[in-house]
């Protein structure tokens, strides 16, 4: 998923460092500071949970790919063979991008083949993937 936490925290710095034109000094700047604050708040969650979420997702996708190799081809076993060794965000995201591409292909193949069991298994995985990456925004007061 993009943007990454480093992108966002860099962005928070960059969007506040330039002096704004006079017409953007009031309400607009208050709003901008509020959004950067919200990004920082969510970035704290991502710093805490983001590595775990990626490690879990990569592992879960590899498991599905590996199990499906018998019916859908050795390419999926090949794609599932590696393990995550570098735990920084960019390395995990790069591995995740490759795995997600294979998962998309596998899901499409299952659909075309009418393989309802695998199709639904992957849908259930999507629910868990989205849940693992969720960001919890605390309810903010209305006014």
């Amino acid at each position: 998923m993009t943007p990454t936490v480093p992108d966002l925290l860099l962005g928070n710095f960059l969007c506040l460092i330039d002096p704004p034109p006079p017409e953007a000094m009031g309400e607009f700047m208050v709003g901008r500071v509020a959004v950067t604050g919200m990004i920082s708040l969510l970035a704290a969650q991502e710093a805490e949970r983001g590595i775990d979420a990626r490690l879990w997702e990569n592992s879960a996708i590899r498991a599905v790919l590996s199990r499906s190799a018998i019916d859908y081809g050795e390419r999926f076993r090949e794609a599932s063979r590696k393990h995550d060794e570098n735990f920084n965000l960019s390395a995990l995201d790069a591995a995740n991008a490759k795995l997600r591409r294979e998962l998309i292909t596998l899901h499409e193949m299952a659909e075309n083949k009418g393989d309802t069991k695998l199709y639904k298994e992957i849908i259930a995985l999507y629910v868990k993937m989205a849940e693992a990456r969720r960001l919890d925004l605390p309810p903010l007061p209305g006014s």
């Binding site: 993009t2 943007p3 966002l8 860099l10 960059l14 330039d18 034109p21 007061p141």
Partner: protein, 339 residues
């Protein structure tokens, strides 16, 4: 030359008399256009106006003429919108394309990140919100200004045209593979909806947060028509009831953080004269979550390309994208009987 000076020069030229621009102030939100409020003194009178100018980078790539014509289509026709005043597609003195419209003062818009944004007025505002949407959906667009610029699809083409467009946006702007939205797109294509019962003006972003209310229970303006087009009116209904806009009340079944879902749909049916076929509406609900992902994926790319300087693009491409991933995944699971 400051923006206020540029604006003053422009208005003096087009109104052919001296104009003084005062209190120019940018308004937060609305990442698709820069929005400013200002007063213009002309001929002994003060006009309260809004400037909508194209930004260097944008949340969504939209045609300002469409937005301008949408305001013109509904001004004075039972939908509370400001009067569109001037459009400059080449930018004129302001260097980037813009339009100017009347200002409706005394209103407040809700942020999608707030809880209970409408307080004791939620029910009254919800009833008006879906009633006004019914008026929009029920209006025959024949002869209205927007038809000069918006092509009318055939009823059975509406779904495909929108899905093709938003899939194209995702194809062009996706920076990380998105298996959940891809699965949704394939499902939408496998099981298309019934043809539109009527081709109507679709606001395109009709949701809580895109209207002004007077904090006493009255909706006073429907804004942000930049994605207006002609299409299936169920598209707007599906977007308005998307859980993303529910202000933390989606689990309670209160759409837009205002009223019960079934009541909202009943009001829309009554005021539009149209039917919300459950299967067709389910298609448009899933489609709208895909459309949302298109917007957020595009925002993420724009954020990167623009040097990470607009935090609204950043949070849209991140937090809201993940929310819609959750919404789509749950909906796909429900459709498969998994949830």
């Amino acid at each position: 030359m400051s923006l206020a000076d540029q604006l003053q020069t422009y208005l003096t030229r087009i109104w052919d008399q001296p104009v003084t621009v005062r209190d120019l102030s940018r308004i937060p939100g609305g990442a698709s256009r820069e929005t400013y409020r200002f007063d213009a003194d002309v001929g002994g009178e003060t006009k309260g106006l809004i400037l909508r100018r194209d930004p260097p980078g944008s949340l969504i790539d939209t045609d300002r003429r469409l937005e301008f014509m949408a305001y013109r289509s509904f001004f004075g026709r039972g939908v509370p919108v400001p009067e569109a005043a001037a459009l400059e597609e080449q930018g004129a003195e302001l260097e980037r394309p813009f339009f100017i419209m009347g200002r409706i003062d005394g209103g407040k818009a809700a942020s999608p990140f707030t809880v209970i944004p409408y307080g004791e007025h939620a029910q009254a505002l919800g009833e008006q919100f879906f009633s006004i949407l019914g008026t929009i959906s029920g209006t025959d667009p024949t002869g209205l200004p927007i038809t000069e610029v918006a092509p009318a699809p055939l009823p059975d083409e509406c779904w495909r045209r929108e899905l093709d467009y938003w899939e194209g946006v995702i194809d062009a702007d996706e920076q990380h593979p998105q298996p959940i939205v891809r699965a949704a797109i394939r499902r939408l294509r496998r099981e298309p909806p019934a043809p539109a019962q009527a081709v109507r003006i679709v606001h395109g972003d009709y949701r809580s947060g895109n209207f002004l209310h007077d904090e006493k229970g009255q909706v006073i303006a429907i804004l942000d028509w930049e994605m207006a087009h002609l299409g299936d009116p169920l598209e707007d209904l599906g977007w308005a009831i998307d859980p993303l806009w529910a202000h933390f009340e989606a689990e309670k079944g209160r759409v837009g953080g205002m009223i019960d879902r079934a009541e909202a749909i009943a009001i829309w049916e009554r005021t539009s004269g149209l039917k919300a076929d459950p299967a067709a509406l389910a298609w448009w609900e899933l489609f709208n979550a895909v459309k949302g992902m298109g917007i957020w994926i595009s925002a993420a790319k724009e954020y990167r390309d623009g040097g990470f300087k607009d935090p609204v693009l950043g949070i849209s491409g991140w937090y809201t994208a993940r929310r819609h991933d959750q919404i789509i995944a749950r909906r796909l699971a429900q459709l498969e009987g998994l949830a």
